[in-house]
Symmetry: C2
Subunit: 306 residues, 2 copies
């Protein structure tokens, strides 16, 4: 089924512990699309400046990402520069230039307005809500991300948005900040009381929780010998998660559990190379093999002690 | 089968975020025994001073812990005082008084020398090796713990000990310090090359890995709404792990996986109350129910995306 993503399309300059890359494809919608396109056709809505290397997006278009909603505005593209030291879980931001992204006002092309699955990447919650209003029929499943900046500066808008969202996907720090609860179970319950039927709390290298009613599901991060560049892992997770759901067309708990695992698998691939490189050269057989490995990672047979 | 533990028997004074306890039962051998005794008879070797509240150990004796190896020396018992702030994963040590523990020279009573399962709690690796030498027949399965202090000050002894150990159980910080590898897969491989067939790396609230050859198993920590007092969680984990193995008598990979889950379950109970309180009032039905919950926590059915 159709999967709509709204978010940033940026140029990243990253310095992981080994290597360095300048002005490579980045942004939440970019990572999301590269990941989700392995599962379902993706419709991207975003904005870039007139300096963006449009040719490089051909790789996404070839993977089935419809770029008709990518606005090209006069000005500079969103640029982010960051580095990672020993703690690969948190980037140190060196520079952020919002450029044309600071005036982003997402317009959903007519042919995207019947989207059944929607991912609202990390933008102003008022814009996230405006996107939902532009979708003609209530979508089957809406996921949204947010960040500390919006939690602080747009709290009422964010809470209003949550009433229209099926799953909130945030990291542990954001969940704690939003809810003022240190304990993640309590944080999740707080969120579940405000609209979303599901909450996914991502803990980076420590895995991800999904909460649904009284149910808790956990998927570890895939243990990798080399985490090359952690940038985009969260949006690649979201892409795998929503892509899997859009492909299956079913949003019950069993499918949501699998979606978390597919998300974790996609996040684990994303960090193996710079930018979306690994997501582009990836094949379904590799994804399926990694999901099998995920299953082995936590598999045990129950047996009462004799 | 018989399970021998050698380690500290102490008096703890702890200040978790809520509440406060003074001079309660603590120490690695104490937590280990309280936990393991749910699965198998335990033989404890340790030392206390003449100030130790021996009557309080009756609760352990009633649970099948043989205290014949608990030496009573002239002097003060090992005392530890610590507190936890927001990060329940790491205690802040306020005071440590080793007392009679500083001259601990474990003597294994004759009737304990045929132990088939041995847990070497966190003591000087030279003493850990001396314990193994006192066991008459090579045990079926030996687990050992250690800490930063021994990794720094007794490195050659620790490496010599590893050659005689089946599983090293350490936390992530200790694994990194021992191996000088930031990546846990690489750290585990380093350790596996030095003797142990299995390595368990505990990450506190972030769960535990077990490595065996090229296999990796992961058990999340059980998500609790209230972590009351984290003291002793690691030794309670070890008690559940070794207790389960001693009870089953089988040490293949399948049983080791289950042992990690039983260990995680026991660790999750230990933190619900002060000291060994929760471990003492625990029933097997509760343990089995929690193991089932662990299974639900990570359970998903594989299914190829359609």
């Amino acid at each position: 089924m159709s999967l709509l993503v709204v978010g940033s399309v940026a140029l990243d300059s990253v310095e992981p512990p080994f290597g360095k890359a300048d002005d490579v494809l980045g942004g939440s919608a970019t990572f999301f699309s590269a990941s989700a396109s392995h599962f379902a056709p993706v419709q991207l809505v975003g904005v870039v400046g007139d300096d963006y290397p449009m040719g490089q997006l051909d790789a996404l278009a070839k993977r089935g990402v419809d770029l008709a909603g990518l606005e090209r505005a006069t000005g500079r593209s969103f640029r982010w520069r960051g580095r990672y030291r020993h703690d690969l879980n948190s980037a140190e931001t060196l520079e952020t230039h919002l450029g044309v992204f600071s005036h982003f006002d997402p317009k959903i092309p007519k042919q995207f307005r019947n989207a059944r699955f929607v991912f609202l990447g990390n933008i102003d919650p008022r814009l996230q809500l405006s996107v939902l209003k532009q979708v003609e029929k209530k979508p089957e499943f809406v996921a949204c991300d947010t960040m500390n900046f919006w939690i602080e500066s747009r709290r009422p808008d964010l809470l209003a948005l949550l009433e229209h969202v099926d799953v909130l996907m945030v990291n542990d720090g954001e969940a704690r900040q939003l809810t003022d609860q240190a304990n993640l179970l309590k944080a999740a319950r707080w969120i579940l009381e405000r609209g979303p039927k599901f909450v996914v709390i991502k803990k980076g290298e420590h895995g991800a929780y999904m909460f649904h009613g009284r149910h808790v599901f956990f998927a570890p991060a895939f243990p990798l010998e080399e985490v090359f560049d952690p940038t985009g892992a969260g949006d690649s997770f979201a892409g795998g998660f929503m892509g899997y759901l859009a492909r299956s067309g079913t949003v019950d708990q069993e499918h949501l559990r699998r979606a978390v695992v597919y998300g974790s698998a996609m996040g684990s691939f994303a960090v193996e190379k710079f930018s979306i490189e690994r997501l582009l050269d990836l094949e379904m057989a590799e994804i399926v093999a990694r999901v099998k490995e995920f299953r082995q990672l936590t598999a045990f047979e129950e047996e009462l002690p004799r």
